[in-house]
């Protein structure tokens, strides 16, 4: 009887039992299968390297800087308001559908900014309680904070337009989602949240 795929892989990887290795050495068909598995492995390893289409260094650098001022967006207070300041008062100058769309984007973004502020307020309350945090929970908190810092870096680059774009709206949605996760972690002390 020939070797199963799992055994063939074990032989290829030098991890097989003596029996399996013995069979592979004397069976041309299994030998050919193992060779085929090696060819696939080489083919995978030879796939070309990929590069991101845009440069993400500026965002990473900005997020790092934000981290250096630890908990910047909590300590400073109303970080959401600061990020949102550029487009809070947008009234469509143009008429018709475009103005309606702009007003809708502004309103939706405004709602998300308000939600952000509320969540930040909650976090300041929990943060000052000074409770002990387990290592695992601390790791989760830092991960979420990292992602918020990345979103904030993108927002501060995108925030100069008078009217928020769809991208900006999406960033605010992401920000609220992350803050919400952070509040859950803080309140429930669960290390795992569905990010």
């Amino acid at each position: 009887m020939h070797l199963s795929l799992e055994h063939l892989l074990a032989v290829r990887d030098g991890e097989a039992t003596a029996d399996a290795a013995g069979h592979a050495a004397s069976c041309p068909e299994c030998g050919a299968e193992i060779e085929r598995l090696r060819t696939i492995q080489r083919g995978l390893a030879a796939l070309p390297e990929d590069r991101p289409e845009q440069d993400f260094w500026p965002g990473v650098r900005a997020a790092l800087a934000a981290h250096r001022n630890r908990r910047h967006w909590l300590a400073a207070g109303w970080a959401a308001a600061g990020l949102a300041a550029a487009f809070t008062l947008t009234i469509g100058v143009r008429g018709g559908l475009e103005a309606w769309h702009e007003a809708k984007l502004s309103r939706e973004t405004g709602e998300l900014v308000a939600a952000s502020q509320q969540l930040e307020q909650q976090l300041r309350t929990y943060g000052s309680a000074g409770r002990v945090v387990s290592g695992r929970t601390a790791g989760t908190i830092v991960q979420i904070e990292d992602r918020i810092a990345l979103v904030d870096a993108q927002l501060s680059r995108a925030g100069s337009d008078r009217v928020p774009s769809q991208d900006v709206l999406s960033l605010w949605q992401e920000r609220v989602r992350l803050l919400d996760a952070l509040v859950s972690v803080q309140t429930s002390r669960t290390a795992y949240v569905g990010l």
Binding site: M1, H2, L3, S4, L5, E6, L8, L9, A10, R12, D13, G14, E15, E29, C30, E33, L37, R38, I40, Q41, R42, G43, L44, A45, A46, L47, P48, E49, D50, R51, P52, E53, Q54, F56, W57, G59, V60, R61, A63, L64, H67, Q143, D146, R147, A149, L150, G194, L195
Partner: protein, 214 residues
Amino acid sequence: MALNFFEPATVLHLGEPRGATTRPAQTTIVDELVLARAKAGNEAAFETLYRHFEAPVYTLARRLTRTPHDAEDVLQETFLEVLRSIGRFRGDGSFAGWIRKVTASKALMRLRTQRSRVPEEELSEELADAIAADRNHGVTPIATAPERLDLEAALARLPNTARAVIWLHDVEGYSHDEIAAMVGKTASFSKSQLARAHARLREMLEPTSEGPCT
């Protein structure tokens, strides 16, 4: 400093025993001075490290996750974590190996949290078709493409776990025990996923042939 981070093709020889020697990043040497400066918080050194590792980190993230967007997020999260905690990197094991581990763990976390949201098989198929169409400028699928593109499209079609396991094991050189620890399963789970991945690849690459000898 020439850095051949992920030149795995050159280190995977026929019949070479598996294990640490096949792990591409271990061939990488990071300039100790750059590392020391980065540990001291030097921003120019941070950027140097970013530029060095940008492509290999992105590539690994791209292979493990579903979309370029996922890979971009993993890239940023990885560098943020690595550079933020670089002061604690003690240098046992290579720096490249550490970065790779962080990348893999961020990517796997992303797969875990996405699992409940999208039926993965459908999305993988869709993605694979998109890749094939893109590479062939939307004209002819797979048949006329070079062989490695077939393999890339087939890889993208694999279910998430099988794809991650075959990549981490066959290309990155992680052992089944190491993969088991990373995905929170057993080594035999990793072995069966590897076999599953190879079986599926074979179906996709040689649709007319019989399965492996049984």
